[in-house]
């Protein structure tokens, strides 16, 4: 390549690239690759640290037994189950509300109510989760005397996750080709039937992707849960109020070396981090699979 360029230059047909520009080009792309390294490197470091801190001392009791005391012994079964119960609750509550929201905004809403309602959930996405946690704590837990429990935690998490599912629903419904609707109408299918059997069906991959994002948030949220779910070393009951339940991010936060001097607790913190990481990786994997499947389906 270089030799070719040189001959071309010596023939006088194509002027050779000035050295200054070649250096400038190399510097620019060098800087870009350095930036890439600065993203991939710390991410790898973060993942490896999270795994490396937990794995050497990982024991299966961490996932098969409940926490004892302030992490002096035992495992995280209560927290894992608590997180699962919370995510199921969020999927039901937030999923229902946001799919209805997205559906209404995309299919039915006309006129001035549309930007207003859409603006409401978009603004909701911008509120820091700790502020929602504060409101949940002060009103639901304290003022309503619900105490820590499933209901306040799920309600706060739902408000946090509604924007993501609603946005995904709305935009994936908007991307359904209009020929589908027209075809349904040409066949004399009623609007409700067409919506349920044709339009929503082809929007499902997008909706599920939005739900996965919401799940990742529900699994990884900490601050608002500290004040709504509380913490418990027993497995979650399905009582809605006055029944604090454990969750994984609490274990990471409260048992971390910054907050607990107990070695076994610190180990539980690392273990909880690893389990959370596995959860998140699973969610991302599922998301990619769905995206790949729906792409193949669309082609």
């Amino acid at each position: 390549m270089a030799a070719h360029r040189q001959t071309a230059g010596s023939l006088g047909q194509i002027p050779s690239v000035p050295i200054r520009r070649r250096v400038g080009n190399a510097l620019f792309w060098g800087a870009c690759f350095l930036a890439l390294l600065l993203v991939v490197g710390p991410t790898l470091w973060l993942i490896i640290t999270t795994i490396g801190k937990a794995l050497p001392h990982f024991h299966w009791t961490a996932v098969s037994s409940d926490t004892v005391g302030a992490g002096t012994a035992g495992g995280l079964l209560n927290a894992i189950l608590g997180t699962l119960v919370l995510t199921v609750g969020v999927l039901i509550v937030s999923g229902t509300i946001s799919i209805l929201t997205g559906l209404y905004l995309s299919e039915f809403s006309r006129g001035r109510s549309r930007p207003l309602l859409r603006g409401a959930y978009e603004v909701l996405a911008g509120i820091p989760s700790i502020v929602l946690g504060y409101v949940g704590y002060v009103v639901l837990v304290v003022q309503f005397h619900w105490g820590y429990g499933l209901l306040p935690a799920v309600l706060v998490l739902s408000v946090i996750t509604i924007p993501y599912i609603a946005k995904a629903t709305e935009s994936s419904l908007a991307q359904v080709p209009s020929s589908y609707r027209e075809g349904a109408e040409a066949l004399g299918i009623s609007q409700g039937w067409a919506l349920r059997k044709i339009v929503i069906k082809s929007a499902i991959p997008g909706i599920i992707t939005g739900m996965l994002v919401a799940l990742a948030i529900a699994v990884g949220e900490t601050a608002p849960l500290l004040f709504t779910a509380g913490w418990s070393t027993t497995n979650p009951s399905f009582a809605l109020t006055h029944s604090p339940l454990g969750f994984l991010t609490y274990a990471v936060w409260e048992f971390s070396p910054s907050n607990s001097p107990i070695n076994s607790a610190n180990q539980l913190s690392y273990d909880a981090g690893l389990i959370l990481l596995v959860f998140v990786l699973l969610l991302i994997l599922i998301g990619r699979l769905i995206a790949a499947r729906s792409r193949r389906y669309a082609e």
């Binding site: 080009n25 999270t50 809403s109 911008g126 409700g192």
Partner: protein
């Protein structure tokens, strides 16, 4: 349709067509023509708006006593004291009770929030834009997919894990390696004095900024990558045909083309950094009532202050501490809302209208 005699429908439900059956029929018709779905959808769509209004009302009601007590000086004071909570009689100021000696000021929290977010952006913006350009213009497709996976993992990483990483791994490295090295070698120039001085324990402004930058990078990088992918090929080919190198093309054609969108994504990332709670609470060092004296000093942000003091605020029988936290929450919410709205306007603007070629040159 036969031309039979019109069916006489007895009013009031008596006869062959009772009320339940008619109701069921109406419901069926409603489901079939989409009316039922429409109305349930409307109910669902109102809930986010109601939730938003509820949050705002609660914060205003809860924060009102604190605002009445402190007025605007709340935003210029740096005090942070719970006062004497065991005093027999609470102090009364402007009609509201507070423990004697209690005083709260939001200035250090606001400064801390803005400073950490600024550090995060200073690190994250060039790194993210460079990454996006490298992914789109240089990496083969499979590698771009893999790096995209990294960005997705980083974006989905629970903030408490990043906080743990910051507290256990990054903090000590900052304290033992980075901070002493920088502090020793920084030239004695007025502006750079913030880089010198005591290097601290690793918990503080710099570590918080670094941790936050890890959370902001995936937002900016992924958005910028998608924007750069959408830049049409013709203006770029035109630039190359004019004799620009591909670095010049990237800098002078591609980036200006999506400039507003990048700014939008940066502001979106800023919103995340401003509101981030638990990770900052783990690495900020939690020092109330003072400003960080240099880059390595301990500090506090608004969100971290709420999570760290909410439990203790309940012990204040006068409710003053709780009210102060509501006011802080309101301030935080207003700041993040303004940034988010700004970001959305910018992103929308760039996605709806293409910029003219070379607008940024």
């Amino acid at each position: 349709m036969t031309a039979s005699a019109p069916v006489v429908r007895p009013e009031g439900g008596a006869g062959q067509d009772p009320l339940p059956r008619r109701a069921v029929a109406a419901l069926r018709a409603g489901i079939r023509n989409g009316q039922a779905l429409r109305w349930t959808g409307a109910v669902g769509a109102v809930i986010p708006a109601l939730a938003l209004a509820f949050v705002l009302v609660v914060l205003v009601i809860k924060g009102w006593p604190a605002f009445r007590i402190d007025g605007w000086s709340f935003f210029s004071s740096k005090a942070w004291s719970q006062g004497n909570q065991y005093a027999l009689k609470p102090e009364i100021k402007n009609g509201y009770e507070l423990p004697p000696g209690a005083a709260y000021g939001a200035l250090p929290l606001i400064v801390g929030t803005l400073a950490t977010s600024l550090i995060a952006l200073i690190i994250a913006v060039p790194v993210s834009v460079g990454t996006a350009l490298a992914i789109v213009e240089r990496l083969p497709r499979r590698l771009a997919y893999a790096v995209g996976l990294f960005l997705e993992v980083l974006a989905g990483m629970p903030s408490v894990i990043i906080g743990l990483f910051g507290a256990v791994t990054l903090g000590p490295i900052v304290a033992h390696d980075i901070a002493p090295y920088v502090a020793r070698n920084v030239p004695d120039v007025p502006v750079l004095s913030y880089f010198a001085g005591k290097t601290g324990s690793g918990y503080g402004l710099l570590t918080s900024g670094l941790v936050l930058s890890l959370m902001v990078i995936p937002i900016i990088a992924a958005t910028t990558r998608d924007l750069v992918r959408q830049v049409p090929i013709l203006p770029r080919e035109g630039a190359l045909a004019l004799g620009m190198s591909d670095a010049q093309t990237a800098r002078r054609v591609t980036l200006p083309w999506v400039g507003a969108g990048i700014v939008g994504s940066v502001v979106l990332g800023l919103g995340r950094a401003l509101g981030e709670t638990i990770a900052v609470a783990m690495v900020c060092g939690a020092s109330f009532g003072s400003f960080p004296s240099n880059l390595y000093d301990t500090m506090i942000t608004a969100a971290a202050a709420i999570v760290l003091t909410l439990e203790a605020a309940l012990t204040d029988a006068t409710g003053y501490a709780l009210s102060v936290l509501a006011e802080i929450g309101l301030v935080l919410m207003v700041i993040t809302l303004l940034t988010n709205i700004g970001a959305r306007l910018l992103v929308r603007r760039v996605s709806s209208t293409a910029l003219p070629v070379g607008a940024g040159i």
